[in-house]
């Protein structure tokens, strides 16, 4: 027996649960279902344990290995394996969110949804029962869940509905299905011991969980999970069924079949052939496990032996044979046995599982020309690769695997190394250009975007978009030497011609007081000292993305949006809701703004800008309209220099007529153009068409597209890809002014509070919410009035946002599907299974507390975890938490999920709280949003630290 709990239960030894680590009493802890079974098994307890073993709850973890689980994960924006996702495990396992020290060695995550998922960690209950201490028993009373509790996991989830195509779970029926009442006249039978070893020299049985330590995951064909879902894994539990009783009666077995040697011979592992005995961790209840066919594993279980087939055989690993199966299955209970068919059913080859999901696109975003101009490197977000283009031949010549979601690429000045930012992995891949291989991975901050070296190549600057910082990497040691403060969401960067400055665009506005215009920033880095030397403010603008310097060094151009989020989206003044344009950042810090929108047609989502080395032209990509604008710089600068100060400050930034004076051509390209680069001779430009997996080649003499470079993406356009194109296209908005991507860059947030409806200026302002992982959080909208994404993105969008005909049904379906698949990044503060820090641990105590500091009971409806419970940390209902403002129509607002809450400031329905702390220090004066006013400052800090881990 592997569990010291079981041992304790049997022998009466006094073992206090989890008393070792941290030098303090650790309780309660999860003890595992096997410990529960030490009492709750057998007919005297209504076979509760076996009923669970036979239930779908027991297979909840294993089913995450099914292809359907991968599809659901994709629709939930979960890039990880479902069995390694805290989100999936939150409902498909027990105690997924707790720390290792809170789990007894007898606890196994692989047991799926077991007793303690619903009844709470069992250590105290077991302890109290063992001592037969009535007071302790009452104190340690197990949770008795209600149907409402079950809904935390079983509430309808869009992702599951989409894949399973099943109606909502009938909770009444399910409740009956899993019922496991304790008989009125219950009686506990001593657990059945294991047979003694047949030979001290023989190998021991280690149990299937031990095998599963390696034989799991896609690379091993999910072998353990396949077994767990097979009838073999239920063989022991099946002996508790009425059918087993009937057969036992036929055989003349009087007692409990689960205690009958003849039954156990074929319904368990090793009972009839105990060999060298049973190692700690072996569980008879596993039924017919791996070792029933492959022999006791203690000698061959080491990985080194298992990787050597001959050594494994010598160590006792048995090949499965017909005889093995027939020994039990031949004429068993009169049932016919087709060996070949049965073998096919339980086949579990050691080979990688076929990848679920559809075609793998490339999605090129940004590019860099090698200093010698011969090759172009293209960062491809969806394929996790960098594609190498031969510039002269205009063909793809190589594809280099890098980290997850590469975003940008740059070269060292000598061209021997390339650096690629990996947005998903928070790293930079270092590529040896001659070898075209990745030679190092450098950890950086959250979601890196732009990368660039200084003129000497000594330092590499990496923009940590989600951490609002800039990592400065020493390229010789490949280590981060300092981290500079950016503004919010640093995006792209460019080196001045003299090498003295780097300009950094910031996608989001700085935090500004409630209901005041955006104030964005271009961060200026002094490359000699590697410090921030200036921060140029770009007023009333946001989404500063592309940047490039004029070769004169007098100014740089940036792309920007001017979002009118403070007035209802019905006002057409000054170009309507989101105008698109350019910023001119002068060397001395002055700023001009001009629009690229024209009265009849806008230039949505300007994403990147590149200036020809001869200083003649600037090319700007519009990812929302699949065009490139060609700006005559002489005309643009002349226009500005001839204008009055008043015109430059107050007229040009909102003047739709001005672009006709300096935009000399719009060049059509393909879907969602993002990055643009120009060759050193100023004759050719390359544009990355993100959603076409291609580059457009532009002849800068003729100012027209002259070629398409295919990056080798799939030909087929899936529904998801189509939806991605819809998401990034402004085709559906009035004047073609903006796309979904405009307010949800990277599928996330633009950090603004919008005045959406025509109900008066300032009425019902609402904070923009992330789309990452949105599908399972219905209903939508802060007031919770939209039950589905289709409604949210369909009629409502047309009425309040886009103001022209809504999406077609085909577009809407595809759009919804794409939105669901926007990746939800892993939590940066707590990777799956990581220990909590001391502060986080204390914060969790606060989060789950039931009493105030002075001992008062906190009403259940006013506890954090009542509305914010795992794994989504939302009850998906509306509550009045006292945040209604003077201009709000409603007082009840949707409960937001808390996953990765640290990356979506500001907070509350109206974005009034710039930080998590402010939610409680400023906006919870009457303890309506949880009881928090008794908390000390350090408790609040701890709570915030814990919230970041969710």
């Amino acid at each position: 027996m592997g569990s010291r709990w079981i041992v304790a239960a049997l022998s009466g030894l006094v073992l206090v649960p989890g008393t070792v680590a941290l030098g303090q009493l650790r309780k309660p802890v999860y003890v595992g279902s096997e410990v529960c079974a030490s009492c709750h098994a057998g007919p005297g307890f209504g076979h509760q344990f076996s009923r669970w073993l036979l239930s779908r709850h027991a297979r909840a973890y294993a089913v995450l290995a099914r292809p359907e689980a991968k599809l659901i994960a994709e629709l939930s924006g979960i890039p990880e394996e479902p069995q390694e996702s805290s989100m999936c495990l939150g409902c498909h396992a027990t105690g997924a969110e707790v720390e290792e020290w809170e789990k007894d060695p007898s606890f196994h995550l692989e047991d799926g949804v077991q007793c303690e998922k619903c009844h709470g960690p069992g250590s105290e209950h077991v302890e109290a029962q063992r001592h037969l201490n009535r007071a302790a028993q009452l104190e340690a009373k197990m949770e008795i869940p209600t149907m409402d509790f079950c809904m935390a996991c079983h509430a309808e989830k869009g992702s599951h509905v989409a894949v399973h195509q099943r109606p909502m779970l009938d909770m009444e029926a399910a409740w009956k299905e899993i019922a496991h009442p304790t008989p009125d006249e219950w009686s506990r039978a001593e657990p059945l011991g294991l047979p003694p070893p047949a030979s001290e020299d023989a190998a021991q049985y280690v149990g299937s969980v031990a095998c599963g330590a390696c034989h799991r995951g896609p690379e091993m064909g999910y072998q353990w999970s396949r077994w767990k879902m097979s009838p073999h894994a239920h063989a022991y539990a099946a002996l508790a069924t009425a059918a087993a009783r009937r057969i036992a009666d036929e055989w003349g077995v009087a007692g409990d079949p689960q205690r009958n040697a003849e039954c156990l011979r074929c319904h368990t592992t090793g009972w009839h052939d105990p060999a060298g005995g049973f190692a700690d961790g072996f569980r008879l209840s596993e039924g017919v496990g791996c070792e029933a066919c492959h022999g006791p594993g203690s000698e061959y279980v080491p990985e080194a032996i298992m990787r050597d087939p001959r050594a494994a055989r010598l160590a006792g690993l048995r090949e499965q044979s017909r005889e093995t199966c027939l020994a039990c299955h031949e004429k068993a209970h009169g049932k016919p046995f087709d060996y070949e068919k049965a073998l096919a059913e339980i086949a579990h080859p050691t080979e990688p599982a076929r990848q679920a999901g559809g075609p793998r696109y490339k999605t090129p975003l940004n590019m860099a020309l090698r200093p010698d101009g011969q090759e172009l490197y293209v960062a491809c977000e969806a394929s996790h690769t960098v594609i190498v283009i031969d510039v002269a031949r205009r063909t793809k010549v190589a594809e280099i695997a890098v980290g997850g979601q590469p975003n940008d690429v740059t070269f060292s000045p000598d061209g021997r190394r390339a650096y690629v930012s990996n947005r998903l992995d928070d790293s930079v891949s270092v590529i040896s250009v001659p070898a075209r291989t990745v030679i190092a991975e450098i950890p950086v901050g959250d979601e890196p975007h732009g990368v660039l070296t200084d003129p000497t190549g000594r330092y590499l600057y990496v923009l940590n978009t989600l951490a609002d910082s800039i990592s400065v990497i020493d390229t010789e040691s490949s280590t981060e030497v300092k981290r500079l403060s950016a503004s919010r969401s640093p995006w792209s960067l460019a080196l001045s011609p003299d090498g003295a400055q780097i300009l950094v665009t910031n996608n989001l506005s700085r935090f500004v007081p409630f209901r005041t215009p955006s104030m964005s920033e271009v961060t200026v880095i002094d490359t000699e000292r590697a410090v921030v030397e200036n921060r140029v403010v770009v007023p009333a603008a946001n989404l500063l993305q592309g940047v490039d310097w004029d070769p004169s060094g007098r100014f740089a151009l940036i792309t920007l949006n001017r979002t009118k989020n403070l007035v209802p989206m019905t006002r057409l003044l000054q170009g309507w809701t989101i105008t698109n344009g350019l910023g001119i950042i002068w060397r001395d810090g002055r700023v001009d703004q001009v629009l690229l929108d024209e009265p009849g047609i806008c230039f949505p989502d300007p994403a990147d800008v590149a200036i020809t080395p001869d200083g003649r032209l600037a090319l700007v990509t519009s990812s929302g309209s699949n065009r490139v604008a060609v700006v005559d710089l002489r005309r643009l600068i002349g226009l500005l220099e001839e204008a009055s100060h008043y015109e430059r400050e107050h007229v040009f930034p909102n003047h739709l007529g001005k672009p006709t004076e300096f935009v000399i051509r719009h060049i059509p390209v393909s879907h969602s153009p993002r990055g643009v680069v120009i060759t050193a001779d100023s004759r050719t430009a390359f544009v990355a068409n993100a959603l076409d997996d291609s580059l457009t080649v532009i002849d800068l003499g003729r100012l027209e597209a002259v070629g398409r470079i295919d990056l080798g993406g799939p030909e087929v356009i899936t529904q998801t890809r189509f939806g991605e194109r819809v998401f990034h296209s402004a085709k559906v908005t009035f004047r073609r002014q903006f796309s979904c991507h405009s307010c949800h860059p990277d599928g996330h947030v633009d950090g603004l509070t919008y005045d959406i409806e025509p109900d008066g200026i300032g009425v019902s302002p609402v904070d923009n919410r992330t789309l990452r992982g949105i599908l399972d959080t219905a209903p939508f909208k802060w007031e919770g009035t939209n039950p589905s994404l289709s409604r949210q993105c369909g009629p409502r969008l047309a009425v309040f946002f886009t103001r022209i005909d809504p999406f077609t049904p085909e577009e809407l379906t595809a759009l919804d599907r794409y939105i669901c698949t926007i990746p939800r990044p892993p939590n940066r503060y707590r990777p799956l299974g990581a220990e909590l820090t001391e502060a986080q641990r204390r914060g969790r105590e606060v989060f789950y507390r039931t009493r105030t500091n002075d001992g008062r009971i906190i009403p259940k409806e006013n506890r954090c975890a009542t509305c914010h419970f795992p794994p989504l940390y939302t009850d998906r209902r509306q509550h009045d938490v006292g945040t209604k403002g003077p201009y709000d129509r409603e007082s009840r607002f949707d409960t937001p999920h808390l996953n990765n809450i640290y990356d979506s400031a500001p907070y509350l329905h109206n974005g009034a709280a710039a930080t998590l702390e402010e939610i409680w220090t400023r906006f919870n004066p009457y303890d309506q949003h949880g009881v928090t006013n008794d908390m000390t400052k350090d408790q609040l800090n701890d709570l915030v630290e814990y919230l970041k881990t969710l």
């Binding site: 410090v531 702390e917 350090d938 915030v944």
Partner: protein
């Protein structure tokens, strides 16, 4: 140039004077040499562009001298002599700047705001953390110190540590530190350790690597007297700490202390060159030299081994300056100068290579010392001043030490 000015600017002349003093029967230890005396002082006040004359903090960063005042932040560019200042209307989050530190890696300026929390000034942008929008324990921040990626704030309700990379705030109070009182007056970082000067709790040392605390208290636990000499820190009401070359220097409102890891040494005005026991701040320059900013001037222990001091004061009536060189209680030399401290109520000291900056309640003083030397130096005789005049000054200085400096020096 007058003879007096010449004397004031030249350490050579001091050597001359001390040799002459020996001839007058002064202690023979003078043969060990004399310390450097700063005689070239410049003053900066509101008239020169400071936002306010009450200078609470000074921090040198290359050519920039950051100045924290009671009503604004200023930056003096030594290359141009220009002062730029920021008040609340200019974006400074709070008017009272009580502490400053510069992140050596990023160049960002961190600002302690007395009543307003903590701010960062980076590239012209002020970022503001306070007790409502962040994990800062209290808005009354006395001091700030940068330690690696962390920023520490000494506040009236404990110390806060902010990790600029992870965003985590940690509070240190009586709950998790040996803080008998939580009123933190000062914080400094050196050699992997944070030193907190705590009102009523002495000095607390935090080892960054081990995250362990060590406390330095007054072992005799007497608030009024130093019962046992050199048994520990002179008093638990500490106002400043400075760790340099393995030596911890401490200022308190009741005397100063030096700790070498094994031995404590207490300093009091009645037996040293300290102008007062009321210490506002301390800055150690080396294991043997420390500057103490007091309510009656600045006392400089220039050579610990010989207990040699230089005491800088301003004559309240004439506003002229005086430096008194002493060893123990013996005055060795008096140097008069046209200008010394802007005011005797000194609040801060900052080193700048050979130069020294002193913040006072009436402006900022810049002591220029291009030929500064540490310790003592014996110089050849090259007298320029009459012996009788110096002897008269010595006598006057002795008398002044006996009686204490006039309360007129206190700020209004």
């Amino acid at each position: 140039m007058s003879n007096q000015q010449s004397l004031c600017r030249s350490p050579i002349a001091l050597g001359t004077a001390i040799v002459l003093a020996i001839g007058w029967g002064l202690p023979a230890v003078a043969a060990e040499g004399l310390p450097y005396v700063y005689t070239d002082w410049k003053h900066f006040t509101v008239k020169d562009g400071l936002p306010n004359d009450h200078v609470f903090a000074v921090r040198v960063d290359g050519p920039r001298v950051w100045i924290g005042t009671e009503d604004g932040l200023a930056c003096l560019d030594k290359r141009t002599g220009r002062i730029r200042s920021w008040k609340e209307k200019d974006g400074l989050p709070w008017r009272v700047v009580s502490g400053l530190d510069v992140d050596p890696k990023t160049g960002d300026l961190w600002i302690a705001l007395f009543g307003g929390g903590l701010a960062r000034f980076s590239g012209g942008r002020f970022d503001h953390w306070h007790q409502l929008n962040s994990g800062l324990v209290n808005d009354v921040v006395y001091g700030v110190a940068v330690e690696n990626n962390n920023v520490w704030a000494a506040t009236t309700a404990g110390a806060s540590r902010y990790n600029t990379v992870t965003g985590e705030w940690t509070i240190f109070t009586e709950k998790n530190a040996p803080m008998e009182e939580i009123w933190n007056y000062a914080v400094t970082y050196a050699d992997g350790k944070i030193y907190l000067g705590v009102w009523g709790s002495g000095v607390l040392e935090f080892d960054v690597a081990t995250e362990r605390w060590k406390d330095y208290l007054d072992p005799d636990r007497e608030m009024e007297i130093d019962l046992y000499r050199d048994d520990g820190i002179v008093h638990v009401i500490t106002t400043g700490t400075s760790f340099v070359d393995g030596i911890l220097w401490v200022s308190s409102y009741f005397g100063m202390s030096r700790y070498d890891g094994r031995h404590w040494r207490g300093f009091y005005a009645h037996e040293t060159g300290l102008p007062s026991d009321f210490g506002n701040a301390v800055k150690g320059r080396s294991a043997t030299e420390a500057w103490f900013a007091t309510d009656k001037g600045v006392g400089v222990l220039t050579d610990f081994a010989t207990d040699t001091w230089v005491t800088y004061t301003m004559e309240p009536k004439t506003h002229k300056g005086r430096a008194v060189v002493s060893r123990g209680t013996k005055v060795l030399k008096v140097v008069d100068m046209e200008r010394c401290l802007p005011h005797n109520y000194a609040l801060w000291v900052e080193f700048d290579g050979n130069d020294v900056w002193v913040g006072t309640s009436k402006g900022l003083g810049w002591a220029s010392g291009p030929d500064y030397y540490p310790g003592l130096k014996v110089e050849p005789i090259a007298g320029e001043e009459g012996e009788s005049k110096n002897a008269a000054r010595l006598a006057a200085a002795e008398a002044m030490k006996q009686s204490g400096v006039s309360s007129e020096d206190r700020p209004q």
